[in-house]
């Protein structure tokens, strides 16, 4: 699903919720997942003018989860360690987006190359 403008964020969040409900994720985990997704999609819009998001249901043993992949072709992140630190921001924000999102999900992976773009993958397990 492509997200290129701010108004796309609400339908995207609803879509994530539908998937989470489908695998019977609890309300607290749903809220954490959607909040994390909301942070990441904002980064994508603000720094890379949007991008593409893949929503998948994944299985590990008896647990189901949601995997979200955020791919953009923006400027990339030059200092990933700094970007993952609480309170660091190059924009005018609180600097909680990336580190906060990481705390809210079970698996968090970020790949970035300056000038080429950034891909963030998160997984939230239904019982995680």
């Amino acid at each position: 699903m492509a997200v290129v403008k701010e108004q796309d964020v609400v339908p995207f969040r609803n879509r994530v919720r539908e998937y989470a409900v489908k695998i019977k994720m609890g309300l607290v985990n749903q809220t954490k997942l959607i909040t994390a997704a909301s942070e990441l999609v904002r980064n994508m819009l603000r720094y890379a003018n949007g991008g593409k998001i893949r929503i998948e249901i994944v299985t590990k043993g008896r647990d189901n989860g949601i995997r979200l992949t955020f791919a953009d072709t923006g400027p990339g992140i030059s200092n990933i360690d700094l970007a993952m630190k609480d309170g660091y921001s190059t924009g005018k924000s609180l600097g909680l987006g990336l580190p906060g999102a990481k705390r809210l999900v079970n698996e968090f992976n970020i790949q970035t190359e300056t000038g080429k773009g950034t891909t963030v993958t998160i997984i939230k397990w239904s019982n995680g």
């Binding site: 609803n14 809220t31 954490k32 580190p99 906060g100 809210l104």
Partner: protein
């Protein structure tokens, strides 16, 4: 353009957020609300977020901004009705909403506002709810 209505009730302003917020809408609410505080000389602002499913760092920052800006304009802000899952998520996100007063529901929020405002300040007619568009 979507807009969140702001109701005036006596010397308080009442905002009930019933829709999912995107950033622009939250920013407009912030601006509208501050303008209303200035225009009406309101002493208190009550924001009901019981219908809000997620509050992320941006929305949290807006709530904090509204509280700080209102305070400078001599109005108190109380946020009421936060869903438990939202509260859990906010703290894990690292945004404990310092400086924003909260109450469990609208009734308790109103009581808190009334207790925070010294008697005799502002006009005391709490007779009609008039809706003022900004």
């Amino acid at each position: 353009m979507d807009k969140i209505p702001i109701l005036k009730m006596g010397s308080f302003l009442l905002v009930t957020i019933q829709v999912d917020l995107y950033d622009r809408l939250a920013l407009n609410l912030e601006a509208d609300l501050i303008r209303m505080v200035d225009k009406t000389g309101a002493k208190g602002v009550l924001i009901d977020i019981s219908a809000v499913n997620i509050v992320d760092s941006f929305m949290g920052r807006i709530l904090g901004n509204i509280a700080s800006m209102s305070r400078i304009l001599d109005a108190q802000t109380v946020v009421v009705g936060m869903q438990p899952a939202v509260a859990i998520t906010l703290v894990e996100l690292g945004l404990p909403l310092n400086g924003v007063r909260t109450a469990l529901n609208v009734e308790k929020g109103m009581a808190l506002l009334q207790s925070m405002i010294p008697p005799g300040s502002g006009d005391e007619e709490i007779t009609e709810d008039d809706h003022i568009s900004v």
